[in-house]
């Protein structure tokens, strides 16, 4: 495998030790994107000059004996709703193409670059993040490297696809209802959606303010943890960012033998979602083998909580886009537009009720976390569907595909819990993930359990074989 297709920690170690210069590595990476991106359509833009300048800076620092940071020379890319100085923030839309370029980098982009990482481009996404499929009528569908006829998942579609295609070792995504976790599951990557309010969203095109999260995606849990520690810290620019002490996860504690782990049943076990049910059984067996106390649990009010997330998303996002709906409705993707239009007509009482229910639901689930340390749930109901699919078949029943891809993820983002999406090593030809969920502010527990599963060989994220460079 070529140097640039290593993981985050491996690349940083090679650059810091002088085994390869950041400049050579970034040029390899950009060359690979130029060759392979057309097969997956993960990147909507590359930033050659900026990346080469930053890589040169990293090399100069190393030459002078300075510390370039823990992510020295690591190439990364961001969903194209992150502000990048001098670049128009697209958010996957046509309407934004005439906006002014961003005046500064998003806070998380700046934090990664301060740690030595090198931004190489912006990534495809579902329009205005209202999507689970990765299909985008303006930029074209983002394709799944494991089978390019299939969806990458959304809305952080490029963030998952670019990792699985080995184009970069690190991406940033956003997650309002599952937009990090669905593409992580479909593309076979690891993703972290931290607690609501943990990481600042400053400089990020919003979707639904009271539900929007940001987080990293990578090909190993170790990499996720390393990057998560770099990203942490209060920022007054995001009103939802909570001013708490940074809680670095550092070296992950992988002994989970003292943990109580709940396997989500009821709502999370649907007859007909065979692959999801199978990996939940495998996860239960793996966690038991690792010594954890494993028990089946029901998540209280989960169905109602998901409904609340649906309504809140619809109402808040429609309010955000009101002016664009009035002036340029037909420049939206029709599917997205019709959802926004409907959301503009919802009674206020529905929205307030949904927020009230959400608070009750959060309280009930917090009570569950007095009894367990971590909750395991499937990430998606199925493997990545074929691009263009509209129907999800469950047993003999046909359900609309788009909203149901987030069936398992929406209940947890609704109440802001930290979730690590973990790609499971399964016998199937396509990847699929589970969610490792913890109580608010306990990202350390999500990552520890994910790391234990990875070390035990139950979980793992790889580059799709056709995209590996030798």
């Amino acid at each position: 495998m070529n140097e640039h297709q290593k993981g985050v920690a491996g690349i940083a170690a090679s650059v810091r030790s002088g085994d390869i210069s950041a400049t050579d590595l970034i040029n390899q990476c950009l060359g690979n994107i130029g060759l392979k991106n057309k097969r997956v359509n993960a990147f909507t833009m590359t930033l050659e000059q900026r990346a080469q300048e930053k890589a040169s800076q990293v090399d100069q620092e190393i030459k002078r004996g300075m510390d370039p940071g823990p992510l020295a020379g690591v190439p990364f890319a961001v969903k194209n709703l992150f502000d990048v100085e001098g670049v128009i923030t697209r958010a996957g839309a046509k309407i934004t193409e005439t906006d002014f370029p961003a005046g500064a980098d998003a806070t998380l982009v700046a934090r990664l670059e301060s740690a030595g990482a090198v931004l190489v481009g912006a990534l495809n996404m579902g329009e205005f993040a209202y999507d689970f499929t990765g299909e985008n009528i303006h930029d074209g569908a983002c394709r799944n490297p494991w089978d390019t006829d299939r969806m990458a998942g959304g809305s952080s579609s490029g963030s998952g696809s670019a990792l699985a295609a080995g184009l970069v070792p690190l991406t940033l995504g956003t997650d309002t209802n599952g937009s990090i976790r669905v593409p992580s599951s479909f593309c076979g990557t690891m993703g972290l959606k931290p607690t609501y309010g943990r990481l600042p969203r400053t400089g990020i095109y919003p979707f639904c303010d009271s539900l929007d999260h940001v987080g990293p995606m990578a090909r190993s849990v170790t990499d996720l943890a390393l990057v998560y520690d770099v990203l942490q810290g209060f920022c007054a620019g995001d009103h939802a960012c909570v001013n708490r002490p940074v809680q670095p996860v550092g070296e992950l504690q992988c002994d989970i033998s003292r943990l109580s782990i709940g396997m989500a049943k009821g709502y999370f076990h649907v007859d007909g979602f065979d692959a999801a049910n199978r990996i939940m059984r495998s996860a239960s067996a793996a966690l038991s083998t690792l010594g954890a106390k494993v028990e089946d649990v029901e998540v209280p009010l989960v169905r109602e909580g998901r409904s609340a997330a649906f309504l809140i998303t619809n109402a808040e996002s429609s309010a955000l886009h009101r002016q664009r709906l009035l002036e340029r409705a037909d420049d939206f993707d029709p599917d997205t537009r019709d959802r926004f239009l409907a959301g503009s007509l919802l009674p206020a009482g529905w929205y307030v009720r949904a927020q009230a229910l959400r608070q009750l639901y959060a309280t009930k689930v917090a009570e569950l976390f007095r009894e367990i340390d971590v909750l395991i749930a499937p990430a998606t109901p199925c493997y990545a569907p074929e691009i263009g699919s509209k129907i999800l078949k469950v047993g003999g029943e046909a359900l609309p595909l788009r909203p149901n891809l987030g069936y398992f993820t929406q209940p947890f983002s609704c109440i802001g819990l930290p979730v690590c999406s973990v790609s499971v090593v399964d016998s199937g030809a396509l990847p699929m993930g589970i969610q490792v969920v913890a109580a608010a502010w306990r990202e350390d527990r999500c990552l520890a359990v994910a790391a234990a599963l990875e070390q035990a060989g139950f979980a793992g994220a790889e580059i799709a074989p056709e995209f590996i460079e030798h």
């Binding site: 607690t195 649906f310 009035l326 239009l341 529905w350 949904a354 009230a356 009750l360």
Partner: protein, 76 residues
């Protein structure tokens, strides 16, 4: 408790509410909007199925930490 919203109800909702909120729903957009309104209504029905005490706070969300938990028992 809300009730199921029919296609006709959703059409009526579009006609009346769109005027009130100043959103124009064009003919070619109606079918999609109707479908989405009916989906939203079924979600609303679920949220109203749970008894709730008075909710007087502004709709601002705060994550809830479990306390006491196994690591942080309540002081007695």
């Amino acid at each position: 408790m809300t009730k199921e919203i029919t296609k006709e109800d959703a059409e009526l909702m579009i006609d009346v509410v769109s005027k009130i909120v100043g959103i124009n729903v064009e003919e070619h957009q109606r079918e999609g909007v109707v479908q989405n309104l009916r989906a939203a209504a079924s979600m609303a029905e679920l949220t109203f199925s749970v008894p709730l005490e008075e909710f007087v706070a502004a709709p601002v969300f705060v994550p809830v930490e479990p306390f006491p938990d196994k690591s942080h028992p309540a002081k007695t």
